[in-house]
């Protein structure tokens, strides 16, 4: 291995800003009590730090009040809460063919258990095009109780027109849930402007917080059933779940140090500017695509214009299984990517890359241009080997 080049930001970002590590260490040293559970100074200091983190995340994402922001352990938890909360027995749910399993599995569960019918509207994984007439017809059909769409595909990074999809849902009075797993922190977001009833995202990808953190935004007036019930530190005399946010949705001890780290990450992003992050991701995307334009034997997926993606590109090398290529990239260049179906079999079926999948390259806020250049040269080398009699790679 010749390097340590991390291009798997779509799975989780690395490294985290130093401020995140410092905030977590500071929390454990100077606070460390349980949030909202006591009046002693360590509990109060913990509560202060978590509350500040909620404020930072709210301001980064354009929320109206910190009560709009629920902390979850990941995007999946937020999506499950929203999907199961909006689903109506006997109703119909509409979604797209580019969804991750964090959306598809709860939806298929509802379908399989006979609770809801499911309509999947085809969306193009390369262009992001989706048949708006079909979306309108399905969303407007009698009995539709929910519409769900991914903001950007985790396979190709292509952005979907979620504002349009949400506007159509709103016209029909149908709640709309957005999976913003790949866009949070990677493009400027004002969550109320998305027109969604709920938006879920992880804290540990573009938002640069630690794993074990996630954010669920609920639009003003949205009240759902919680996923779990239990102690919240509030209304201790009652054996019934509080009816107010955030406590209603945050039962059990919070991942306080993770949340505090996420708050520090949000402050970091506010200082850097998410618009600058987006511009950097786009520039790297252009460099990646331009670098591979004259390489024979490398197939690129996703939009031609990287500005329509969010720092993700999927490729295949002709004649080389993606898992093999990904392993050679790591073994020889220290280049970390993710191969396979990326928990999105529907998206790969849409792209025509199922069941093998693709090699996904995904970069982040601090990825240097040199890392992209290494990736391009490594793919060129693997493609040349595949066309010759040379062995594609030797495995450690």
């Amino acid at each position: 291995m010749s390097g340590d080049i991390y291009l798997d930001h779509a799975a989780t970002s690395w490294p985290k800003p130093p401020a995140v590590l410092e905030a977590i260490a500071s929390f454990l040293e100077h606070a460390g009590g349980n949030v909202g559970r006591a009046g002693h100074h360590r509990s109060i200091e913990s509560s202060r730090m978590v509350s500040l983190a909620r404020e930072s995340v709210t301001e980064l994402l354009g929320g109206e009040t910190p009560d709009d922001v629920i902390f979850t352990k990941n995007a999946t938890e937020g999506l499950n809460l929203a999907i199961l909360g909006f689903a109506v027995d006997g109703g119909r749910i509409v979604t797209t063919s580019l969804e991750h399993n964090s959306v598809m599995r709860p939806l298929r569960y509802l379908e399989q258990s006979g609770r809801c019918a499911l309509d999947v509207v085809h969306a193009d994984g390369n262009t992001g095009e989706i048949d708006l007439e079909e979306w309108t017809a399905r969303v407007g059909a009698p009995g539709t109780c929910l519409a769900v769409a991914v903001h950007a595909s985790n396979v190709t990074g292509i952005l979907l027109p979620v504002e349009q999809l949400g506007a159509i849902a709103a016209e029909h009075g149908v709640p709309f849930v957005v999976d913003a797993s790949q866009t949070g922190g990677h493009m400027p977001l004002s969550l109320p402007a998305l027109g969604a009833s709920a938006v879920a995202m992880p804290g540990h990808k573009g938002l640069l917080g630690p794993t074990g953190t996630g954010v669920l935004y609920l639009a003003e007036g949205v009240v759902l059933e919680p996923l779990i019930r239990g102690g919240t530190g509030s209304q201790s005399e009652s054996e019934y779940q509080p009816d107010f946010a955030p406590d209603k949705y945050e039962s059990g001890t919070l991942n306080s140090m993770g949340v505090v780290g996420l708050g520090a990450a949000a402050e970091h992003l506010r200082t850097v500017g998410v618009d600058h992050v987006q511009a950097h991701l786009t520039e790297l995307g252009r460099r990646f695509r331009d670098g591979l334009a004259d390489v024979d034997g490398v197939v690129l997926y996703g939009p031609d214009d990287p500005a329509r993606s969010v720092g993700i590109s999927s490729v295949n090398v002709e004649g080389v299984p993606c898992a093999t290529a990904s392993r050679v990239l790591d073994d020889e260049w220290g280049l970390m990517t993710r191969a396979g179906l990326h928990c999105s079999p529907a998206a790969h079926r849409s792209l025509g890359t199922a069941p093998e999948g693709t090699i996904r390259f995904s970069w982040g806020e601090d990825t240097p241009e040199a890392s992209i250049d290494v990736a391009v040269e490594a793919l060129r080398t693997i493609a040349e080997r595949a066309r010759s009699t040379e062995q594609v790679g030797t495995f450690a």
Binding site: S47, E55, T65, P66, S236, D247
Partner: protein
């Protein structure tokens, strides 16, 4: 510091936000253990100077912070003593 009132809350998150909001508005405020005789709901309350009461109420409303009630409550930081709770919730 002698405080003349406390705000009680349903959720500690709201108490934290209230303390921050009042301090940013340059209104003296401090988190205190939630007096049991005031409210059993949340472990902490926010103490403030009673003369500021209208401004406190206004600042909390502007920041959309949900609170349970505002109470007359005597608390002396220097002596650490708590005076009588005058059960006069104003909100």
């Amino acid at each position: 510091m002698k405080w003349g009132g406390v705000v009680s809350f349903f959720a500690s998150e709201h108490a934290m936000r209230a303390e921050r909001t009042l301090q940013r508005a340059e209104l003296p405020a401090r988190l205190v253990p939630g007096p049991r005789e005031v409210s059993p709901n949340c472990g902490v309350a926010v103490a403030f100077v009673w003369n500021d009461e209208p401004k406190v109420e206004q600042a909390l409303a502007a920041a959309k912070i949900r609170f349970e009630a505002i109470h007359r409550y005597d608390l002396d930081d220097e002596t650490g003593t708590v005076g009588t709770v005058r059960r006069e919730s104003v909100a």
